[in-house]
């Protein structure tokens, strides 16, 4: 049994020195202390935090506030159109570069694309199909040649039943309200 003043109280993480109990000798009462110290903390059900947070108003983060005030300032001073125009022009540059590259290497790009659709993709699909068929036939052969004795069948059945029961118990437990123990 832990003495009360060595027990982490509350959730044990209050980070303030006088959150910990410091009982005076006059209060010592072993029976009551033992019983009270052994009490478990309880926890609300799962998703409690989310339910609370959906009902809590949170101020905007600082960066969002700064961004909003910067946009407001640009709008109020009329400079927003200048910035939007610069952004639009800026986005034209990469598009123009891509178009130029496309024009310069048009024939090479054409050869590459036609190879991809005429040879590359069909070859890859055929190889994948062949491998898949080989794997499946191996599984079929394995199943066909395996012979289980009566005992093995029983063990397999019992194992499946235990697994099924375990899943059912797990599901029922998961649906119960959570209860946290120290």
């Amino acid at each position: 049994m832990k003495p009360i003043d060595s027990v982490a109280v509350g959730n044990g993480e209050m980070n303030e020195p006088n959150d910990r109990a410091s009982l005076t000798p006059a209060e010592e009462d072993p029976v009551i202390h033992r019983e009270l110290a052994a009490l478990s903390p309880f926890a609300p059900t799962v998703l409690f935090e989310e339910r609370v947070l959906t009902r809590v108003w949170r101020p905007e983060p600082e960066w969002a506030r700064n961004l909003r005030s910067a946009v407001r300032e640009l709008r109020d001073t009329g400079r927003i159109w200048l910035v939007l125009g610069a952004l639009a022009l800026g986005s034209l540059i990469p598009a123009a570069v891509l178009a130029g590259l496309g024009a310069a290497f048009a024939s090479e790009i054409g050869v590459g694309v036609s190879w991809l659709f005429e040879q590359g993709l069909p070859t890859a699909a055929t190889a994948a199909g062949r491998d898949l068929a080989a794997a499946w036939s191996q599984i079929e052969t394995q199943i066909g040649t395996t012979q289980l004795s009566g005992g093995e069948f029983t063990a397999l059945g019992a194992g499946s039943a235990i697994l099924l029961a375990g899943c059912a118990i797990g599901l029922v437990r998961a649906m119960r309200p959570s209860m946290v123990r120290r």
Partner: protein, 200 residues
């Protein structure tokens, strides 16, 4: 961006300051620190799981929406426990009124009138939640705590289960320090009486 480990080691006041800046992780940290102590206090006060969860939720919504009114020179824990305790006490008072009304109308002066105005409650079978509550609050010490007067119950839970100092309990419950000491002394005596026969 505030690192999670920084938040975990920060004081309550620092976490509240981050929450003021809109850091969601700070709100989660406050919930993580206090959801169990607050829920445990309310649950042991009202002794009903669902109701305790509703009241705990109300407490947190109230506190987290009013963080701008929190004064850092006071302990955050005292503030949240005060709101939680008030919610539990209000609920117990409402329940007391409901119980009285179940036992007959306020103008019922004769036994016939009491019977005529009382509500008839049918047999209610025990739900899985009732069973869970019975298991959680069914130990001798939990039953003994449940039999204490609400103000004694609040004092003894905060002192011995949550480990709060006498002056903090006085601040939380808005009671003089001497009264808190008296309540705890009497509560311990009642617990001793209740638990005594079990140990003989």
């Amino acid at each position: 961006m505030t690192a999670g480990s920084e938040l975990q080691t920060a004081t309550d006041q620092e976490v509240v300051a981050w929450a003021h800046e809109g850091v969601e992780a700070a709100y989660r940290e406050l919930l993580r620190r206090y959801e169990r102590p607050v829920y445990s206090l309310i649950y042991r006060m009202v002794r009903d799981r669902e109701l305790a969860e509703d009241l705990t939720q109300e407490t947190f919504v109230k506190v987290l929406n009013a963080l701008d009114r929190y004064r850092p020179e006071f302990k955050f824990s005292s503030w949240i426990f005060k709101i939680a305790n008030n919610a539990a006490i209000d609920q117990l008072r409402r329940k007391e009124l409901d119980t009285l009304s179940l036992e007959g109308g306020p103008d019922a002066t004769t036994p016939d009138r009491v019977e005529a105005t009382s509500l008839q409650v049918g047999d209610v079978s025990e739900s899985p939640l009732d069973e869970l509550e019975a298991r959680e609050l069914g130990s001798a010490i939990e039953r003994a705590i449940g039999q204490l007067r609400p103000e004694y119950r609040a004092c003894i839970i905060m002192r011995h289960v949550e480990g709060r100092a006498y002056d903090e309990i006085a601040q939380i419950l808005d009671l003089p320090l001497g009264t808190v000491k008296t309540y705890i002394h009497r509560a311990r005596a009642e617990l001793r009486d209740a638990l005594g026969p079990l140990r003989e």
